[in-house]
């Protein structure tokens, strides 16, 4: 189990796609749910929301950005090799219902998470406007897939190297000015979700975000992933990962995501060093 069947480097090798054999999880998984992966005996448990699930083939696909030791270790796994542990599907799935016009905003690898949700929202009959963005053209992922999954796609790059020159929030604001939008789903880096929520708050449009807190067990046992939502502490792993974005304390989340910054640097440096030595 958990063999890597397909491996693809994207966005200049900073983002990696792994299609993994996990028949039980693939059978149960729904858009918005995540898995916890552990590469080897000494590895960390890392939560990642699934980008694609294929129950017939019995596979799940994750797309992740290489940001530290654990994701670098994931990247080092080749086709035919295995993740030691994959646990899931975890968390609540996205609530998909027909509302009218909805906007899906995805940034960075958040686009991967957004893809099945976008498709799901369109499949139940919504008119889906998708906005995806990246820092620069080379870092953009899943443009074609998002185009197919939505009715209308807007692409943004921070440096103007492709599509709209600017942030996804600029395009979001333009759309909210013109259209009667019933729901916005925003998934990406925490600052992007925070600013997207500020924009939608101005237009009083309900906004769902998917939070990527640090987790250990992912089943509500440890409370590592706790986030403040509407002044209350919630567990992202079992009560989320999706929450009403207007209620989320993003500043607290951002700080908590940096909890182990120093340790992560130590681990990553050691890994790079070991790799060179090995």
């Amino acid at each position: 189990m958990f063999e890597i069947l397909k491996r693809q480097e994207m966005a200049d090798g900073t983002v990696v796609l792994n299609e993994i054999s996990a028949p039980l999880i693939a059978k149960k998984a729904k858009p918005g749910q995540f898995v916890i992966l552990k590469a080897n005996e000494t590895g960390e448990r890392i939560p990642l929301t699934m980008a694609i699930t294929d129950p017939k083939k019995g596979t799940i696909t994750i797309i992740y950005q290489v940001v530290g030791k654990s994701t670098a270790l994931f990247k080092s796994l080749q086709v035919g090799e295995r993740f030691q542990d994959v646990i899931g599907p975890l968390g609540k799935h996205t609530h998909l219902e027909k509302l009218g016009t909805v906007v899906c905003v995805g940034g960075g690898t958040g686009v991967a998470v957004m893809h099945p949700i976008t498709k799901g929202l369109k499949d139940v009959g919504n008119r889906v406007i998708a906005i995806i963005g990246a820092r620069t053209k080379d870092l953009l992922i899943l443009e074609d897939e998002m185009k197919a999954a939505s009715n209308e796609l807007h692409v943004c790059t921070d440096d103007g190297s492709y599509g709209h020159h600017g942030f996804v929030t600029d395009v979001l604001r333009d759309i909210l000015k013109k259209e009667d939008v019933k729901l916005v789903v925003a998934i990406g880096p925490v600052p992007m979700m925070k600013f997207a929520c500020q924009v939608t708050d101005e237009y009083k449009v309900k906004t769902i975000v998917s939070l990527n807190s640090i987790m250990v067990d992912g089943t509500g046992m440890c409370g590592c992933c706790r986030v403040s939502v509407g002044g209350k502490t919630r567990f992202a792993c079992v009560e989320g990962p999706e929450f009403d974005g207007h209620q989320v304390d993003f500043d607290e989340l951002m700080k908590r995501l940096n909890a182990y910054k120093e340790e992560e640097a130590v681990a990553y440096d050691k890994f790079k060093c070991d790799c060179q030595a090995g």
Binding site: L24, I25, K28, K38, T42, G43, E44, R45, K69, S70, L73, Q84, D85, V86, I87, G88, P89, L90, V216, D217, T219, G220, M221, C222, G223, C224, R226, V227, S228, T233, V238, E252, K255, R256, N258, A259, Y260, E263, E264, V266, A267, K270
Partner: protein, 470 residues
Amino acid sequence: MEEKTAKKDKIPRQPMSEQEADVRKRNFEEVPFGYTPELAMKEAERCLQCKKPSCIDGCPVAVDIPGFIKLIKEGEFTASIRKVWERNSLPAVCGRVCPQEIQCEELCILGKKGDPVAIGNLERFVADNERNHGTGELPPKARSTGKRVAAIGAGPSGLTVAGDLILKGHDVTVFEAFHKPGGVLVYGIPEFRLPKEIVYSEVNFLERLGVKLECNYVIGKTISIDELFDQGFDAVYIGVGAGLPRFMNIPGENLIGIYSANEYLTRSNLMKAYLFPEYDTPIVKGRNVAVFGAGNVAMDAARTAMRLGAEKVRIVYRRSREEMPAREAEIHHAEEEGIEFYLLTAPTRFMGNEKGRVTGMECIQMELGEPDDSGRRRPIPLEGSKFELECDLAVIAVGAGANPILTQSTEGLDINKWGYIMADPLTGKTTKKGVWAGGDIVSGQATVILAMGAGRLASNSIHDYLTWGW
């Protein structure tokens, strides 16, 4: 008879030698070294071999205590472990973590005048001896019945059910949500109190008996109980543990460096964060540590923090020493290692810095009033007694609640108002046909051996059901 008693009383209770407090408080190796065969035989000599032994009544799984001790006395260690295995599949664990002082040893007749027989130490010895020098020969198994049982949760309760039913000829599979078996024995109890190698060895014993183990299965998510029945299981035992951490709901509790005991211990024990960066999981290493609560879990957290290099570790508890729920031996070990106790003290809020890290806490002193529902005297805040303490790591060990993942996803399983599963106290039967439950998910947070006792009752009932249909 009197003469015999007098003679045996002359041998004092044999202590186990242990690592010096100053040394052990900075390492994760086990604290006591265990008996040598000579010491074990000497201690076994003290047992009076009572005709009506009350010690057995104190054991939740009714181990034949005089029986296995007699065999130790005779130097028949293999026969002795077999005697224990008749009733207990996890003796190396129980010998270490059972609260014998309020169970078997409390009822030992020798305890009336002096020290009771060190039953726990002897159980530990005979299990360790088998693991290190044993023949590896397995106990006899009943003929296969062709019936399939699923035990959910590879903790003490589920493993007991697995051990019991495999010997009775049933085909048992244990499903575990974590990536390793053992439950609280692996994620909760630290290495220095229960080396993980011992837990894996006990699990391996069950596997050698034929128990199948499936890790990474979150029942209710990966697969449901009804699907297990569809796959051909005839009975299901739920022993998933409590699994929901309690917080104190005071301001600042989400600052970095504030952990639930579950998270702190899971990082250190299961994920081996104490070996970071050889292992990838990090953990906040505090210099000034506060642990809230005074049960065994709090002692484990405090002693772990000390071993991770803390300068100061405080147990902060709102009641007095008398009400502390931890075993006396654990409190004693913690004190020896320099853990300080701030009794009749409760936190009111945490303070943090611009990075969102905890830097201190505000506390208030308490006094004890009239007894509350639990029968313990209720702590009442003393006005004007607030004070501040520095702290860069806080662990909240004030108990656990019921994790809803499995119960919410299972039709027909009645739960009480706290979310615990309703199960018959004598059989472990739930309101769902073919489903039993026991351990912390029924009783609320308790001990390893009580979870094992519940597993024993349920396995008897499951065996009856599979054999006779009731």
